[in-house]
């Protein structure tokens, strides 16, 4: 196993599109890191650059202590799991698992190496070694009974496991996972998440996982890296990103349902004023750097809102959508000026069309400076 280091890595495509811009990242040996962001944010490009499937335009990539900028994908000692599994359809599961290993046998002749990927010509020791590694991976992933089947005869989850198995048998320094769960249904995705965590614990491998699903990212990663427009917005453990988002983008991207944002201005006595006659008294000691007249965005997560009586309400509106989720209820309240999402306890009796008011727990709220790239203003 080995760590991965990216130093100011960038990628500009012919035509001038800057897909990745100055990404620096230090992934420790055995760490599970998740690159997360919306489509087109550069996360997959970053992963593909680590894999060697995409050239880099600037910066350096190190796997272990080796600079791999100009090293071919096959020589980087990595394994990759693709979004569409990329299983060879004309080969059995067993052959899919052993394919890469067979190629890695030593060949006296270059021509022979090109065409050789079968057991023919492998020494008995090589054959046994390959077979035992395939069997081990099959046992780890529960594929023992599927080794003779073709990929088309497998379910989505089984195919996913074969794709993981193909990576495992290689025993690589780094596992690269490119949205491997996105083609699975919700139930299977949940199961595979657990499986991935277990696998990571079992193998102690360095894993770089790419996803656009923040929930998947939060549950899987030791550390997340949120990207937007090719730039890393924030990196850190999931809880840190949730509790202390660096800017409005991270705050909106991490957490479901999305954080509520209210744009307004600070008045005397740290009174926050926004459209719709919203006036909220901010705690005086929480944001000491705020000044009168400053334009800010107040961010409140749905779970930090609760139903209130009219007297202490910060927002009143009509229940537009009420989603019963069993143990809790997500409510979207709307008035002429804005919509607010609240996650409240079940049993409130609120129905769509009812009028309701919300109160916020301001000790959990976030403030973003409008004139400073919507970065989060630090609390005391």
């Amino acid at each position: 196993m080995a760590g991965v280091r990216l130093e100011s890595v960038g990628k500009t495509y012919p035509g001038g599109v800057r897909a990745v811009d100055g990404v620096s990242l230090d992934i420790s040996d055995g760490e599970f890191i998740v690159l997360v962001g919306p489509s087109g944010c550069g996360k997959s490009t970053t992963l593909r650059m680590i894999a060697g499937l995409e050239s880099i335009t600037d910066g350096d990539i190190f796997i272990g202590d080796r600079r791999v900028n100009d090293v071919a994908a096959r020589d980087r000692d990595i394994a990759m799991v693709f979004q569409d599994y990329a299983l060879y359809p004309h080969m059995s599961v067993g052959r899919n698992l052993s394919f890469g290993l067979l190629r890695r046998r030593r060949h006296a002749s270059r021509i022979k190496a090109v065409f050789s990927s079968s057991y023919r010509g492998a020494s008995r020791k090589e054959r046994l070694d390959i077979q035992s590694r395939v069997n081990e991976a099959a046992v780890v992933l529960g594929l023992e009974d599927l080794l003779d089947r073709r990929p088309r005869e497998l379910s989505g989850g089984q195919r996913q496991r074969v794709a993981l198995g193909r990576a495992i048998v290689r025993d690589p320094s780094v596992f690269l996972l490119d949205e491997p769960l996105s083609n699975l249904d919700a139930k299977l995705r949940g199961e595979m998440r657990t499986e991935l965590r277990r696998l990571h614990r079992q193998l102690g491998a360095t894993m770089v996982h790419v996803t656009h699903d923040q929930e998947e990212a939060m549950t899987l990663g030791d550390r997340l890296l949120v990207m937007k427009d090719g730039v890393v917005q924030q990196g850190g453990p999931p809880a840190q990103l949730y509790e202390q988002p660096a800017n409005r983008f991270v705050a909106s991207f991490i957490g479901t349902p999305e954080m509520n944002f209210i744009e307004g201005v600070i008045e005397d006595g740290l009174m926050f004023k926004a459209d719709g006659e919203v006036r909220i008294q901010l705690p005086k000691d929480r944001w000491p750097s705020l000044s009168v007249g400053q334009q800010i965005t107040l961010g409140i997560r749905p779970e930090h809102l609760e139903l209130a009586s009219d007297g202490d309400a910060m927002f009143t509106g009509e229940a537009d959508v009420v989603e019963q989720l069993g143990d809790r209820t997500d409510v979207i309240l709307a008035n002429d000026h804005r919509r607010m999402t609240a996650r409240i306890a079940s049993g409130s009796g609120l129905r769509e069309g009812d009028s309701a008011s919300l109160r916020a727990d301001l000790s959990q709220a976030h403030v973003f400076a409008v004139d400073d790239g919507e970065n989060r203003i630090a609390t005391k």
């Binding site: 894999a51 499937l53 096959r74 693709f82 990329a86």
Partner: protein, 287 residues
Amino acid sequence: MPRWTGRIFVGVLLVAVTVAMLFPLWWMLVISLESPDRAAAVAEGGGTIAVWPESIHWSNYSEALKQVGSEPWQGFLDALANSIVITVLVVVGTVLSSSLVGFAFARIRFRGRGLLFLIMLATMMLPAQVTMIPLFLVFRSLGWIDTILPLVIPAFFGSAFFIFMYRQFIAQISESLIEAARIDGYGMLGIWWRIILPMCTPVTAITAIFTFIFVWNDFLGPLIYLHSDDQSTLALALNSFRNQYGGLENVHLLMAVSVVTMIPCVVLFFAAQRAFVEGIGSGAVKG
């Protein structure tokens, strides 16, 4: 018109067309098995239509094949061997080269790729008659006349139509398969051989069948380049036989040789019918 009437009408129409298409084939088979006198009478016309042979004469076949070429049996066996060698080499060459070039056009990004592809497609517009004489001069200067080389070697440089077919098919194969193979340690040549070619079975089947039928039946190419008797192909031998035994009294022998010449194509077509149909449709819908 009720639905069942329409179906009957379509059925009758299809049967009629099938009979019309198959009748010459059947007629050839019947004549090849008739006695010499009756075969001549039937071929002459005059109101006799042969739907079934009066008596079956299998000996027509051995007699006909014996008389192909200058030496008994040897002429036929030489022509058969030449046809097989040329056809197999051309099929192998066409499949390998067309798939390799199609793969390059579909998956390797290089400067001028679009232009080269256009030029390659444009070569399909050139009638064979236009290039016939220049090619003959080139092959003559290489000393390849009266050898199978002019018929075989060009196949190893691809065929524009099949390159186009392979390119369209390969373009539909997921890029991640190629990337997975790259990570597994294969170069582009290895990926073509181990991944792409096995996945292109429907296109390979149609390429092989079309090429086989074309080369097996090709008359003009062998006529231009092959002059010696021992280099002759079945199509050439059949033509010589027609010149020698073209009279009505030998029509049963001519038909017998024709049937033998045709058998491999018919067998191949029926054996590979499924792949053939799949191959025709393969370009239209992603597999």
